[in-house]
């Protein structure tokens, strides 16, 4: 039963990002991101024109982000299996994973507020709310990097039989960690590739996060199935 629940948890990460992405990009139409060099009037006009779409998109994102919780629990439990107890790696992963869902949920409220009455306030206020959303949304990368690094170490010290993580998955996590790094300087740049709509701060970290979620689901499913098969054979 426990392992079946873990399999559901492994799927939850992929399902979460699909629903979250649909809400954010499809319904709220925030992909590609708004530009940090747009004037206050342009930003306010976007929120006035799309306010219902943004509100529904935010609602969907708020709900779907919570689906990551069982996914994160599965990661912690798989790391515990790799290191055979609740040691440093599983505990560090647990602490870092705690921030994952709030990082997806809390900034959404600023979008919600921006779209709540955009025509009744000055454009600069809407622009400020929009700024808070993007800087917060893109800027939290440190905890995800800690998640990647603990997973990488877990993959390298894995003692499970059958193995919990393949070694290539460890290297994949190191790769994701390095590419997520530029997100932390998003508050420094108003324009260019490191601004919140730039290649280095938005597109590449976003792409590697999605790759990480998909591959984590696949890797965990495979190893849980192998563990179930080994238990059934024993």
């Amino acid at each position: 039963m426990e392992l079946t629940l873990q399999r559901i948890g492994a799927w939850a990460g992929t399902v979460m990002i699909l629903l979250y992405g649909t809400s954010f990009s499809g319904i709220a139409q925030l992909f590609p991101p708004l530009s940090p060099v747009s004037s206050a009037d342009e930003i306010a006009a976007f929120f006035t024109d799309h306010k219902l779409w943004v509100r529904f998109g935010v609602s969907g994102a708020l709900l779907s982000a919570a689906l990551a919780l069982p996914f994160l629990a599965t990661i912690v439990l798989r790391i515990r299996r790799a290191e055979r107890r609740f040691g440093m790696l599983s505990m560090t992963q647990l602490m870092a994973a705690t921030v994952f869902v709030p990082a997806l949920i809390f900034p959404q409220f600023f979008l919600g507020v921006a779209a709540y009455r955009p025509e009744q306030r000055s454009a600069e206020l809407t622009q400020a709310l929009n700024d808070v959303f993007w800087l917060w949304f893109i800027g939290i990368v440190g905890t995800i990097i800690v998640q990647n690094v603990t997973l990488a170490i877990a993959a390298f010290v894995d003692q499970g039989d059958p193995p919990t993580f393949p070694r290539w998955y460890g290297y994949l996590n190191l790769w994701v960690a390095i590419l997520s790094l530029p997100g932390c300087v998003v508050v420094v740049f108003n324009d260019g590739p490191l601004a919140w709509n730039g290649v280095f701060a938005f597109y590449i970290p976003g792409l590697v996060l999605v790759i990480w979620l998909f591959s984590t689901t696949a890797v965990m499913l495979k190893s849980i199935r192998a563990e179930q098969a080994a238990l059934a054979a024993a």
Binding site: Y171, P182, G192
Partner: protein, 195 residues
Amino acid sequence: MTPHTVTASHPARRIPGESGTWVFLFGDMLVFGAFFVTFLVERAKEPDVFDAARTTLHLGVGVLNTLVLLTSSLFVVLALTATRTGARTLATRAVVAAMGCGLVFIALKVFEYVSLAGAGHGPGANHFYLYYFILTGLHLFHVCLGLGALAFMATQTRRDELGATRTALVEGAACFWHLVDLLWIFLFALLYLVS
């Protein structure tokens, strides 16, 4: 992992390092490739600005840095060969020499940054300098990671005998350093030479 003993003459063709290392190496190359394309797209938008700014770079320092990194790669090859044949002292010295080259590279890069910023060509000056600082900065970060990899290699070359896993890790570290070298050659051509 496939068990294998490493000798100087291995009969079958074999990928250096463990195969997982290449997920990281190819992933990194892919991303730098994306950065290079981004740079070229930006350059196509303002060709005159980019070309004028390019000539303000220190070509001599760039050439010197390329030679420094190529030399360091040579030392790494030497170190790996020495490790395989059990010449531990030579291997350790070669790794330390490669690390020395890496430090020289960093020092030259810092000199370039300070001199460019002093001449009013900081990252805010125009898009060329912005990309120059970001791309070379990211590469410099890789050089620092590579120095860490070489430091690990130096701790392993002192050992009497390396098992299959340790050998693969040492090879992986060497491959990473070659990647750092390779990326710089592309970066050097793109930033300093292409007009």
